[in-house]
């Protein structure tokens, strides 16, 4: 089996179980280069497992998974090395020559001049932006985002979503974003899939122009669709 040339991720028949619980039950998925793919689902459905398999942190039980080698992950927590300064965290594992690019990445996430700061002195949103810069500086073909906004306050979350949308528009990596926030999904995605009981309950392209207005009827229709597949009454919105 070989992936189409335009693919950034190619998954065939992926199966993964933890003990008696099968969390991924024969997943097929193609993600195009530059596509923003969002994986929705209630907690414990294997969204993060799928992402961790793409990151090489878990092994699939069955199936083929193909991904670019240049891929990076941003986790729910910033996961910065507390004992190293911000710039050293951004260029972690890269040669010294990457420091300039690291400063550039920090500037891109709005943290120009923060290179010498210690991670412990940053706010939650700032630390997460450093984590984003650390991913971007590697110029990924595939960017894996594991609920990167979940631990942020509502205002910071909105700013971060905007920043991620902007950065992805500029650098065009393929993106897999795992989230349980339906609005976030509809706002950012080129395509949304809802993972339930081991497979995709629904898979839906979102063809709305950016920036997206959450009061747009099309936006509301998408939201309603995904909420119903998540088992939540759409009337609550």
């Amino acid at each position: 089996m070989s992936a189409p040339a335009s693919s950034a991720v190619s998954i065939r028949g992926l199966r993964k179980a933890f003990g008696p619980k099968t969390v991924l039950d024969g997943i097929d998925l193609e993600i195009r280069r530059g596509e923003f793919f969002v994986l929705l689902g209630p907690s414990g459905t294997g969204k993060t497992t799928l992402l961790r398999i793409l990151a090489g942190l878990e092994l699939p039980d069955e199936g083929t998974v193909l991904a670019p080698r240049r891929r990076t992950t941003v986790y729910q927590e910033p996961r910065l090395v507390q004992a190293r300064r911000v710039l050293a965290n951004v260029t972690l594992g890269l040669p010294r020559s990457a420091r300039e690019a690291g400063r550039g990445a920090l500037a891109e996430v709005g943290l120009e001049g923060y290179g010498g700061a210690w991670p412990a002195t940053l706010s939650g949103g700032e630390a997460q932006r450093v984590a984003l810069a650390r991913a971007l500086v590697r110029d990924p073909e595939l960017l894996l985002l594991d609920e990167p906004f979940a631990a942020l306050d509502a205002l910071t979350r909105l700013q971060m979503q905007e920043l991620v949308a902007e950065l992805c528009e500029r650098h065009r990596p393929a993106v897999v974003l795992v989230t349980h926030d339906v609005d976030e999904a509809v706002r950012l995605a080129d395509r949304v899939a809802v993972l339930r009981e081991g497979f995709f309950a629904v898979e839906q392209p979102i063809d709305l122009p950016h920036p997206r207005d959450r009061n747009d009827p099309a936006f509301i229709a998408h939201r309603r669709l995904f909420l119903s597949h998540l088992g939540v009454a759409a009337a609550s919105h």
Partner: protein, 340 residues
């Protein structure tokens, strides 16, 4: 986006086992497309001028112009970054391999005559000495006597060290009162106290137990202090908010959290107590494993010297197993991590 030319670029050098999969291998074996050599020549600027999105990014962002920017590579199965699963049987075999190798080397070295019996007694002689001690019942008596001294000493010294460590770790006043003195005490080798203790306590049991207790206070204090300081401030704060104070806070939250450190300290206390036994049982003792070392030295019995070393080695193993057992029982939340 038109990225075909890029995706068909010759594969970049592959790394390690990931390339072994059939899919990656087949794509790597595919002949380069006629139009693609341009890709190899231009390392800095990928030939994707047809894609407006990427060209614009090259000028807009400082990252895309950095040397890190390389053309997209082939897809491959993600290389597994986790630690491989280990079978318990393999793990146990590896664990025992080095000690077994040492014993074999000893056996072969003395048996072949490469090592003279004056330098190192062979396994046969050592087993003979062991048989002698077992037959006279001395081995059991010696071990029991030493275990009693070490046990009492570690219990008293470890208890005091734990108390001081917890107090110093919990309160600033406690730290100010206790820590400087303990740091000074730690710098004094407990063996330096032997003459003083003999003049105070004589050479009987009290002296021996006190010496071991003093030796055990230091490591237990240092590690439990560290463990209490390392306990999550927020959890302790929350527990205080639920009305836990004093002993209930310490026993219910602080000590369980610091338990990994305290058990580490217990390991060190027990091995320090073996050192203490040699010093304590050199004087005024008629039994004990430290006394056995003294005897071997006095009569220049190589077989007894090696036997003593073996007894200490076995004790070390038993201490490790015992602490692992305690860890398994006392820290069920750490499960396989603590007691593997």
């Amino acid at each position: 986006m038109t990225l075909e030319g890029v995706a068909q670029a010759p594969p970049t050098p592959t790394e390690g086992p990931a390339a072994a999969s059939p899919a990656a291998a087949s794509s790597a074996a595919a002949p380069p497309i006629a139009g693609s050599p341009a890709v190899t020549s231009s390392a800095a600027a990928p030939p994707i001028a047809t894609s407006p999105a990427i060209t614009s990014s090259a000028t807009a962002s400082p990252i895309a112009t950095s040397p890190a920017a390389t053309p997209p590579g082939d897809l491959e199965p993600p290389r597994y970054l986790g630690s491989p699963r280990r079978r318990p049987a393999v793990s146990t075999a590896v664990r025992g391999a080095v000690p077994l190798l040492l014993v074999t080397a000893w056996w072969y070295g003395t048996g072949s005559g490469a090592i003279s019996p004056d330098v190192l007694a062979g396994p046969g002689a050592v087993l003979g000495a062991l048989g002698e001690l077992v037959a006279t019942g001395q081995l059991g008596d010696y071990l029991l006597a030493s275990a009693r001294r070490a046990g009492l000493g570690v219990l008293a010294g470890g208890g005091i060290g734990l108390l001081l460590g917890v107090v110093a770790g919990l309160s600033a006043l406690g730290e100010e009162l206790i820590d400087p003195t303990m740091q000074m005490k730690r710098a004094v080798p407990f063996l330096a106290l032997v003459p003083l203790f003999i003049s105070w306590f004589g050479v009987e049991e009290t002296f021996k137990v006190v010496l071991i207790a003093v030796a055990a206070v230091g490591p237990m204090y240092a590690y439990s202090y560290l463990g209490v300081r390392g306990a999550d401030r927020k959890t302790v704060e929350a527990a205080r908010g639920f009305g836990l104070t004093g002993p209930r806070l310490v026993l219910g939250v602080v000590i369980p959290t610091a338990l990994p450190n305290i058990l580490m300290a217990l390991r060190i206390c027990l091995s320090v107590s073996l050192t203490g036994l040699i010093a304590a049982e050199q004087i005024g003792a008629t039994e004990g494993i430290g006394y056995l070392v003294t005897l071997a030295q006095q009569y220049y019995r190589s077989d007894y010297m090696v036997l003593c070393i073996l007894i200490y080695a076995v004790l070390g193993l038993l201490i490790d197993l015992a602490i692992r057992g305690v860890e398994r029982l006392a820290m069920p939340w750490r499960g396989h991590v603590a007691a593997r």
